[in-house]
Symmetry: C2
Subunit: 430 residues, 2 copies
């Protein structure tokens, strides 16, 4: 079910290089369909929007009920499981707490001769959050995408999500959105929802940024509108890497590998350990625990294709390998996990010790679960408050201060052949 | 030469909506050429790289001299104009000073039961900077792209730039790169340079992020490799917007409009003023000053096509219009420019008062001149130290802390149908 490699870092690296090629290929007809839908929405606005909703999702949605009503949200609170409600409230509280610490102030500095320089940091004004429907409707994702925007100070946070055939929205999603501070929820999904958020229609105002996961049509639509509005990263297949020494608990480690593997058949679960004995025990535990899990088939598939246990000589090798792979989730199950923190260069989220399993971070600890996938942790970061602000520099120079540097500016402008730049200084220095 | 609109915000907005459609269309054959070059570099590495350099730029470059030597840099220092050298050194110093203020620390928080949460902020390890050759070889751009990376703590900053026919590099560029902290400079430009940075060759190591402006081939190549590595924003046509009341100086304002207009025929220069009189005076000044400028033809073209003076009723209207347009550069030439700062929502860089003209910011003040163009200041920001770091979250929970929230995690995982997630908690709580 899962390969065990007893080998050097090199051998392991070779095996894992294949991970980078997990991307799904995008069919030409998907690209064309998305293009067509976006153009239609841009031109025909609500008319096109309602047409696609009726065609793809529900015939019960029209321009008068596309916006989820206050009553629908109140009703959702009554329907949902009370334990779920308690749990989602705690999650929201913890996520808000953590993201509050990410906030930054605008700042300025003064220099001599009354020079002032600074940076204004402001929240985006309008943000749209995409939430998938059906079995991929995850209330936790609603929190993780909306709360950083709310903490940043975004005034208008709206959400789009495909309705069921009867025109309703999953009540768990409605409740999560309400708790997370979403102002308006629209019953629309797919490329048409992205088009509406990017271009605006009579019912839906255009936004500055679109975030949130979606299927291939949604991902392609987001890519298409990028630049016209901002988008978040487009997530690739996800992964967990666990570094463990002989102190690792095989039962826990096997469970954590499978919690990643159950996501989809392209998910990758990797254990890098210094202990042969642990490797064998984890393999046995996987076989044992998988039997009771509802997503057994997916788990077995992804463990077989993209799962691996690599036995290395020492922790240094393990950490080097992890830095090469730059995993989305990294669990560090070693004697003193804190000592590894300084050595970890590339990872989306780091889980320290045996009682900090990935699902703790997925749901309740507070840090974001929207993380860089497929090795992009080398340069991308978890979703954060930073993703919902924009910065403007500002510059004030007094006449005297400008005169001090004027000739140097003219010299640089002339060197670059930009004489009108030089002229802009020269007219002031006459 | 330039249109004057005496009108409401609405009329002006309509006129300016056209600005958003300034994008150059990309020819199909450009896309195909770029794709071919990138695939060739990925597969055949140095062999392909040298082939393209010899074909497009210089036959004098081979694998033994593609890296600029220490001697070449020393020689450059001897060749360059001493006043230029002084000016570029001052610019570098000011840019470094401003960007140092942007640095952020990693942070952590502790909660009860030994819970620790935090965010590790680390510099990217490898960054590649693209610098155009020929007439677009701007030493100021080298500083603006490299210094934020250096301040962030990037270990390996490399530069690529196309050589002249004889295989040499503009000495001004070499000196700027050396001052800015670039470690290695390679004599290669175009899509092949981007391919080498993204995939690596025997001569050039692969990087984590590529920044810097380039022609359409470079821009397309950057777009293609995005996700495989990170890239900066792809700049569109640029613009200046000047807000002025009756206190504005028509001579200065005309000069500043033209300093933007000289960049290229798609550049846009906009004056929004509360004073009819000023509008007329600026128009006259434009006609007068343009005669002495070397890039007169470009200036007249861009003023005619994308330049406009809009007379509005009051400052509030002017600022609203500016917020709608979200200009790359915004000059505020009014009685008390600081009072406008809080009202300005969208702008790349803000220049306050009559002695803070755009070229001051382009060259020497310190804030970055790589700015969001074409209205993207609604959601994008100036290039900064933030663009050269990545963040990792970390989570530590003790056994007791996990037990406190375990059942809530299980509830959320079960609600989402992710039973292996629930299992990861359950095995620990047995």
């Amino acid at each position: 079910m899962i390969n065990v490699i007893y080998g050097s870092t090199e051998e392991g690296k070779k095996y894992l290089d294949n991970l980078r090629d997990r991307e799904e290929s995008v069919q030409k007809d998907v690209i064309n369909t998305v293009k067509e839908i976006l153009e239609d929405i841009k031109e025909n606005r609500n008319e096109a929007l309602i047409k696609y909703i009726n065609k793809f999702d529900s015939e019960n949605v029209n321009k008068n009920n596309i916006l989820v009503s206050k009553e629908e949200i109140e009703q959702a609170y009554e329907i949902v499981d009370k334990e779920f409600l308690d749990a989602i409230k705690l999650a929201a509280e913890n996520i808000e707490f953590f993201h509050e610490k990410q906030k930054r102030n605008s700042w300025m500095i003064t220099k001599e001769k009354r020079v002032m320089l600074g940076q204004n940091i402001r929240a985006l004004e309008n943000v749209g959050i995409y939430v998938p429907g059906g079995t991929a409707a995850y209330p936790s994702s609603v929190l993780m995408n909306a709360i950083p925007a709310k903490v940043a100070g975004v005034e208008n946070i709206v959400m789009v999500t495909p309705p069921s055939k009867d025109g309703s929205i999953n009540p768990n999603i409605l409740v999560a959105a309400d708790i997370a501070g979403v102002k308006k929820i629209y019953k629309v999904g797919g490329a048409q929802a992205i088009g509406a958020l990017a271009f605006g229609t009579e019912s839906i105002n255009k936004v500055d940024k679109i975030v949130g996961p979606g299927n291939i049509y949604v991902a392609m639509a987001k890519k298409s509108v990028y630049g016209y509005v901002d988008i978040d990263m487009i997530a690739g297949p996800s992964e967990i890497l666990i570094i463990a020494d002989e102190s690792g608990n095989p039962e826990y480690i096997a469970a954590d590998l499978m919690s990643q593997a159950e996501h989809d058949r392209l998910a990758s679960s990797v254990l890098v350990t210094t202990s042969k004995e642990l490797a064998e025990k984890v393999k046995k535990e996987l076989a044992k625990q998988v039997e009771a899990l509802s997503r057994k088939d997916i788990i077995l598939d992804s463990l077989k294709n993209y799962g691996v246990i690599i036995v290395v000589n020492n922790l240094k090798e393990a950490i080097n390998m992890s830095n090469e792979i730059a995993p989305e989730h990294l669990e560090v199950c070693i004697e003193n996990p804190f000592l590894a923190l300084g050595e970890i260069k590339n990872a989306g989220s780091i889980f320290l010790g045996s009682y900090s399993p990935e699902p703790l971070g997925d749901y309740i600890a507070g840090p974001n679960h929207v993380l860089p996938t497929s090795g992009t942790a080398r340069f991308f970061s978890p979703l954060s408050v930073d993703d919902f602000v924009k910065k403007s520099s500002f510059i004030y120079y007094s006449k005297e201060a400008l005169f001090d540097v004027g000739n140097k500016i003219i010299k640089l402008a002339d060197t670059e052949g930009l004489t009108a730049h030089a002229n802009s200084i020269a007219v002031r220095m006459k």
